[in-house]
């Protein structure tokens, strides 16, 4: 931890970065904070807690205002995948971001059912292997079609339309949101139209979702949203060989055809 603090201090003092987005502990509560040259004394309170805030989401807000500055940011495995996707979508320039990687503990990885609880480069913590757990998907897949629909409609009907899943999402950076588009969806009323409200978001997450699970954590109605997004993430891998958050040079096959042939998935007519 002391090394980490010194590292950040050096980067700030040398001017390599204009700010470092991390977390500080304030009266026992970890909260996001941007360290700058003027607030080096706050580095004493730097913390790596067991809770997660949408760091890249906050980063994006800062980058939008200071597009030319280099900024450091504390990233876990999920945040790092988000950085890759943000760079792909031209929301950030990787050259102007200095990720400081934190590896999650075994407990956190298990709590998050995280398949990759470590970033590309680890500056703090010990790397532990990811958790391969698709029991949430298997639970749904074990039902027949009509039970599945009953299950999901039951879940969706709990929605209070807080937009928390969208607001906390690292990948929700669009200027205009389909979920507020009154040509596609009934707006200005709660509860939302189901299942379209959740399915629109689910489909939009195909080729985008980095499986961080913040949406499900933020859902006041405990809707298992992450299973939906994991499903489309899995489909993207199975049908199109595309996994988000891996390589900055890859392109979302739902948006770009690519140059080496346009292989069409073969499983299309399977039901």
């Amino acid at each position: 931890m002391e090394n980490l603090k010194k590292n950040i201090k050096d980067m700030l003092e040398s001017g390599e970065i204009a700010g470092f987005l991390g977390l500080i502990e304030e009266e026992g509560h970890p909260i996001p904070f941007l360290f700058t040259k003027d607030s080096l004394d706050k580095l004493d309170a730097l913390t790596v807690p067991d809770i997660r805030y949408p760091m890249t989401d906050i980063l994006l807000k800062i980058v939008r205002k200071y597009p030319e500055d280099t900024i450091g940011v504390m990233v876990r495995g999920c945040d790092d995948r988000a950085l890759i996707e943000l760079a792909k979508n031209q929301k950030i320039l990787s050259d102007l971001i200095r990720p400081i990687g934190v590896a999650c503990t075994k407990e956190m990885a298990e709590y998050c059912r995280c398949s990759q609880p470590y970033p590309r480069e680890i500056h703090y913590g010990e790397k532990v292997e990811g958790v391969k757990d698709r029991s949430d998907l298997e639970k749904v897949e074990s039902m027949d079609l009509s039970d599945r629909l009953d299950y999901w409609m039951g879940q969706f009907s709990k929605c209070i339309k807080c937009y928390g899943c969208r607001n906390i999402c690292s990948m929700c950076f669009c200027d205009q949101c389909t979920l507020e588009d009154d040509t596609l969806i009934l707006t200005g009323q709660a509860p939302p139209e189901i299942p379209i409200f959740h399915l629109i978001r689910a489909f939009h997450m195909a080729g985008r979702c980095i499986d961080c699970g913040l949406c499900e954590e933020a859902c006041p109605a405990h809707i298992p949203l992450r299973s939906l997004y994991r499903k489309v993430r899995e489909d993207m891998a199975d049908y199109l060989g595309y996994v988000t958050g891996m390589d900055e040079t890859e392109r979302d096959p739902l948006e770009f055809l690519g140059s080496d042939g346009y292989e069409v998935p073969t499983k299309i007519d399977e039901t």
Partner: protein
């Protein structure tokens, strides 16, 4: 309107691209080919223009089936729009299946401007398939 005396009449939304499939549907008309009136074509400029959200909206509003049609591979007026459509439909079908909507209710097919008979055939086949599946569970 769904239930007639004879039984269930499916309502099917067909998205047709301007350059091939819609012209194909037109040709079916000119050739006096019969296809079920259950199919309601909506013309879009390219099958690539069919946002997955349109498909979801059709189901939300009570469509029993959604037919997505475009040009054959290599024929797309915009070169590659239909490839993207195919990918989207693939993922969409699996998502629908996952939430309990029969993926057979969504079908993608490629129909050229000269294939009036194919349009009629696909429309008839699809209508019969949906009729066998029964009304959409999302119908209000």
């Amino acid at each position: 309107m769904a239930e007639t005396e004879k039984g269930f009449e499916p309502k099917i939304i067909a998205f047709c691209c301007n350059w091939c499939s819609y012209a194909g549907a037109d040709l079916a008309g000119s050739m006096r080919l019969k296809y079920p009136a259950n199919v309601l074509p909506i013309r879009v400029m390219c099958s690539g223009r069919i946002s997955p959200h349109f498909i979801l909206k059709a189901f939300q509003r009570g469509a029993d089936g959604v037919l997505v049609t475009g040009c054959h591979y290599g024929d797309c007026h915009y070169i590659k729009g239909n490839y993207i459509t195919k990918r989207r439909v693939t993922i969409m079908k699996d998502l629908l299946k996952f939430v309990g909507i029969d993926p057979r209710r969504l079908r993608a097919d490629w129909i050229a401007a000269s294939e009036g008979d194919k349009f009629a055939k696909v429309a008839t086949e699809f209508t019969e398939e949906i009729r066998a599946l029964g009304p959409s569970p999302l119908r209000g």
